[in-house]
């Protein structure tokens, strides 16, 4: 089995991965959620139609989304240095992870909010609701099950991305797998890294599914 040194490295790497995913996931949600709502409500014929904003935000989101993550990491190194003071290590890795998470989450939230029945918006308008009230009291609660599933997907993707930043010195499980498992040819380390990643993804997915089921009141049996 794994030597105590390697085992300690594995624990450290797992914690680093969790740290990167948690922080970038939280920051990504913090920015991506409102951005997604704005994308949804500024579209043509929507609550707060603003086509100029919608188009510009859409293009920015698409540019980020279409850049392969590994390219994005390298491309924004100056920005990463500016924010984190360094381009190497866990703290630095959080910057590109967050930059990638924001548009990803924004699109997920946009889709979830757009799925909300227009009749509900109309009903709220008929009650004299302000656009802000409609967003907070109608759109977000009704979109919550879809948002929960989407955020789960985003976190799973972030776990994958976080392994990629390992390749450019970001720390975490990816870093461990590449440096020890691949470059030093320690197949048992590689296997351990893969197992931990699989377990992490499973845990995140099943937790996300459970939350989504709990907040979904559309199905009478749940």
């Amino acid at each position: 089995m794994l030597s105590p040194e390697v085992y300690a490295l594995l624990v450290k790497a797992t914690l680093e991965t969790l740290h990167m995913v948690a922080v970038s996931g939280a920051l990504g949600t913090l920015a991506g959620l409102p951005l997604g709502v704005l994308l949804a409500v500024t579209g043509r014929g929507e609550l707060l139609q603003n086509l100029a904003f919608n188009r510009v935000a859409g293009v920015v989101v698409n540019v980020t989304r279409s850049t392969p993550f590994i390219i994005l990491v390298v491309a924004i190194i100056p920005f990463t240095r500016l924010v984190a003071g360094t381009s190497i290590g866990t703290a630095a890795a959080i910057v590109p992870l967050t930059v990638a998470a924001i548009p990803f989450i924004a699109r997920i939230v946009e889709g979830a909010v757009r799925e909300v029945d227009r009749g509900l918006i109309e009903a709220a308008q008929a009650m004299g609701a302000t656009p802000f009230q409609i967003i907070v009291k109608v759109l977000l609660p009704e979109a919550l099950p879809a948002i929960a599933l989407g955020l789960t997907l985003a976190v799973v993707s972030l776990i994958g991305y976080s392994a990629m930043v390992g390749a450019v010195g970001g720390g975490g499980l990816g870093d461990l797998g590449i440096r020890y498992g691949y470059q030093r040819f320690l197949p048992e380390v590689m296997l351990a890294v893969v197992i931990v990643l699989v377990v992490l993804v499973q845990l995140v997915q099943s937790t996300g599914d459970r939350i989504a089921r709990r907040v979904n009141k559309r199905n009478p049996t749940s």
């Binding site: 029945d117 009749g119 109309e122 308008q125 008929a126 004299g128 609701a129 302000t130 009291k137 609660p141």
Partner: protein, 354 residues
């Protein structure tokens, strides 16, 4: 209570096409405490018209007044406040799936900034009014269609509105549930003297609870009046199309083909006599026979009831001199009975049989 003045609504052109007119020249007054039904085929503009009343649809031209306030002149914030006194219910209920029955009914109060304790005091009696106290903490997905619409009604009443707009509220319900919901609406109308405007493509809905009716066709009001009058004497073809199936004024096919639209030699005129209200039972036929020496062959007759008032039609073939028939018609008219010549009996039809 509600006044629509020369409302026009035109949707802007899409991709090179001409602008689409949805409503034109709508003038409508709905009295306080009235149940006003608007009927029309799909695409006639019913929905647009109803949504004009609370300005969910902004008219291209014209004025909307509700309870003396000109909604079309209000800035956005005041319009939102005004909307609180106009409840609305929908064909597909439009309840929030994420909220319980209680929380759905509480929503309009929350939006209006009412405090929690006051919300509770308002919501519980409303649930009782619509008979859903036992479903208080259920989610909409656990309710039947009729129960969902009851929640919709309770929610629409939460802010104590003066007007209730009903957008095909019973169209997604089965006939029995429809009856119960209509009963509830009529009850609310009486108890709270709430003005109700309902749009529907189901004439039976208006026949049951409506006081006045407007018929919409191609974005115009083609006929309006008291429900009884419009049902008894529909004028416009669209109105007849709606009214005929539920108030059988028409002739059975077997008799209709014996009618000729133009006078022919030897063809006797066929009259349709309409009896309304307390005249539905007056012995007019025997009186005409004696007075004008007429033979009246009864072709077809029936008595219906519109909102509790008897309404009868009698189709007779009049055999006698032209002067006698004309005198009989004018006597009927003087007595305020509806009478129209609907055709001429082809020779050898009923008389031979009789």
């Amino acid at each position: 209570m509600i006044k629509l003045q020369s409302i026009e609504k035109t949707y802007p052109a899409r991709g090179g096409g001409a602008p689409v007119p949805a409503l034109s020249g709508i003038d409508l007054t709905v009295g306080r405490g009235e149940i006003f039904g608007i009927i029309g085929r799909s695409g006639a503009g019913k929905s647009t018209l109803l949504r004009t009343i609370n300005l969910l649809e902004t008219p291209t031209a014209g004025r909307v007044l509700v309870d003396g306030v000109e909604l079309t002149a209000l800035p956005a914030a005041e319009l939102r406040a005004a909307r609180r006194s106009i409840g609305m219910i929908f064909q597909h209920f439009n309840l929030l799936s994420s909220r319980t029955v209680y929380d759905n009914v509480a929503l309009p109060l929350e939006l209006a900034g009412v405090r929690k304790a006051a919300i509770r005091q308002a919501v519980d009696p409303l649930l009782e009014l619509v008979g859903l106290t036992d479903k208080r903490d259920r989610y909409p997905a656990e309710l039947s269609g009729g129960q969902k619409q009851r929640v919709g009604i309770a929610r629409a009443l939460a802010n104590g509105p003066k007007v209730l707009l009903s957008d095909e509220a019973t169209s997604a319900l089965d006939p029995e549930t429809t009856g119960q919901i209509l009963e509830l609406l009529a009850d609310i109308n009486r108890r709270l003297s709430l003005t109700i405007v309902l749009i529907t493509h189901e004439i039976a809905v208006i026949k049951e609870i409506g006081h006045r009716i407007a018929v919409l066709d191609g974005g115009r009001i083609v006929e309006k009046g008291a429900v009884f009058d419009v049902f008894a004497h529909p004028v416009h073809a669209t109105t007849r199309g709606f009214v005929d199936p539920v108030v059988n004024r028409g002739l059975p096919d077997s008799l209709r083909h014996r009618l000729s639209p133009v006078p022919a030699p030897d063809a006797n005129p066929v009259l349709r006599i309409t009896f309304t209200g307390d005249r539905a039972t007056s012995p007019v036929i025997s009186m005409l026979s004696r007075k004008f020496n007429l033979d009246l062959n009864i072709w077809h007759g029936q008595v219906d009831e519109i909102q509790g008032s008897p309404f009868g039609t009698l189709v007779v073939e009049a055999v006698g001199t032209t002067t006698a028939i004309e005198a009989a018609i004018s006597l009927l008219r003087v007595n305020n009975l509806g009478v129209e010549v609907i055709g001429h009996a082809l020779p050898g039809s009923l008389r031979a049989a009789g």
